[in-house]
Structure formats: C-alpha cells, structure tokens
C-alpha cells in the first residue's frame, strides 16, 4: 500500500466500491467451468512448502 503517497482516503473509497461488488453468482460463474474442465487443472504447485 502506498501510504506515503497520501491517497489512503481514495483507496478506501475504491475498496468500498469493491466490497459492494461481492456476488455469489459471479463466484459460481467462475467456478463452473473450472469444476467441469479437467484440462484447466494446474500442472505445478505454488511455493516450496510441502
């Protein structure tokens, strides 16, 4: 966060907008093809912890 630039107030306004966009329908739209299409399964692991 670029707090040193002094735009936290604007960031808060944008984040409030983002919060209002939370929508389960969108989550379902994203997840539907992921659940259905095995070819989109990731091939490697994130990070190094196992």
């Amino acid at each position: 966060m670029q707090t040193e630039e002094g735009y936290d107030d604007l960031t808060a306004l944008f984040e409030a907008q983002d919060e209002a966009l939370q929508n389960e329908v969108f989550v379902e739209q994203v997840m539907k093809p992921i659940r259905r299409r095995s070819r989109w399964r990731p091939r490697s692991r994130a990070g190094s912890r196992s």
Partner: protein, 183 residues
C-alpha cells in the same frame, strides 16, 4: 473481511494458492470469493462497461487457475490484478480487431447506466476523465494498492512514469471530487 466469525482461523492466500495448485477447487473458490470485488472493480474501472468487465474478470480468474502454480507468495491481490490488467489488454486488442472488421460497431460504446451504486458515480465520473495511461496507473496503485514498482512491472511503464501518472491522477481526482461536492 466482513462477516467472519470471531476466533475463526483465516487460511492465508499462500496456503490457499498452494492447495489450489494441487487441484483443490474449494481453495481456489475461497480466493475467488476473497478477491472478486477487487478484480471486478479493476476491470470495471478499466473498461467502464459492467458486462464486458465481468467477462474480463472471469477470464482473469480462469487464467489465474491455470497459472496458480506460478504464484510464489507476496500480495495475491497484486498478482491477480496484474493478470486482470493483462486480460483487459487482450480483450481490448480483440475488440479493436472486431471494430476494424465491422464499420457499424460503435467504438468504445460504454454504458454508464449499467448497474452502478449512486455513491460510485462521482468517483467513476472523475476517473473517466483521466487520460488512459494515467487512469491505468491510478486504478492499479490507488484502487488496488499495488506499489509503484508492481504497477511498473505489470504495465511495462518506467517507474518514474508510473509515479508521475499516479501523482497527477490523484491530484485531478481530488480536484474534481472537491468541485462536485461544492456544486
């Protein structure tokens, strides 16, 4: 995070990404739920068209699912918003091609009436008046909280250019918001 029961452990983005990379869809779904607002917000501010923005946001999450193994930690929000920015550029290129082949298509037919909350209007209106590269830098740095360096890496703009765009963009936003609050 709103609505979280008191005392409940929150799984870190890194752990969720690691689980998603091993094929656990539920872990990725949690990341989608956690960052959908930020990603959809970025896409709306870049495209100014709600339906098109959600298409780009969905494409960004699908790309993130495919590339989740490449996430190495750090801000997941910056990582996913960088993907969203790249998806926006691709969508815009495709749109330009379509426009070239269809003379009847209205270029950048933004729909300002699309499902928006009243309190969004002043900020959105002010944002739309910024020159495109300035708007991109403001969206990435101010709206998503990316560092200037992260935004420079995402856009390919020199670091000094990003800083300049952000400073000028923020000043312009403040000026317009102040003017609208007086009017």
């Amino acid at each position: 995070m709103i609505g979280r029961p008191v005392g409940q452990e929150v799984t870190s983005d890194f752990d969720l990404a690691r689980d998603a990379a091993s094929g656990k869809e539920a872990a990725f779904e949690t990341l989608v739920r956690r960052y959908q607002g930020a990603v959809r917000g970025v896409c709306r501010r870049l495209t100014s068209h709600a339906a098109e923005a959600d298409d780009v946001a969905q494409a960004a999450f699908l790309m993130a699912w495919r590339k989740i193994g490449a996430y190495r930690g750090g801000s997941f929000k910056s990582w996913i918003c960088t993907i969203a920015y790249r998806e926006f550029l691709q969508a815009r290129r495709r749109k330009k091609i379509e426009v070239e082949f269809d003379e009847n298509t209205h270029i950048l037919a933004f729909d300002s009436s699309a499902a928006r909350l009243p309190e969004q209007l002043d900020l959105d209106r002010a944002l739309k008046t910024l020159p495109e590269n300035q708007r991109i830098c403001v969206v990435l740095c101010v709206a998503t909280g990316m560092s200037h360096s992260e935004a420079a890496a995402a856009t390919g703009f020199p670091l000094g250019t990003v800083k300049s765009h952000v400073n000028r963009g923020v000043a312009a936003l403040r000026k317009q918001l102040a003017a609208e609050s007086v009017a």
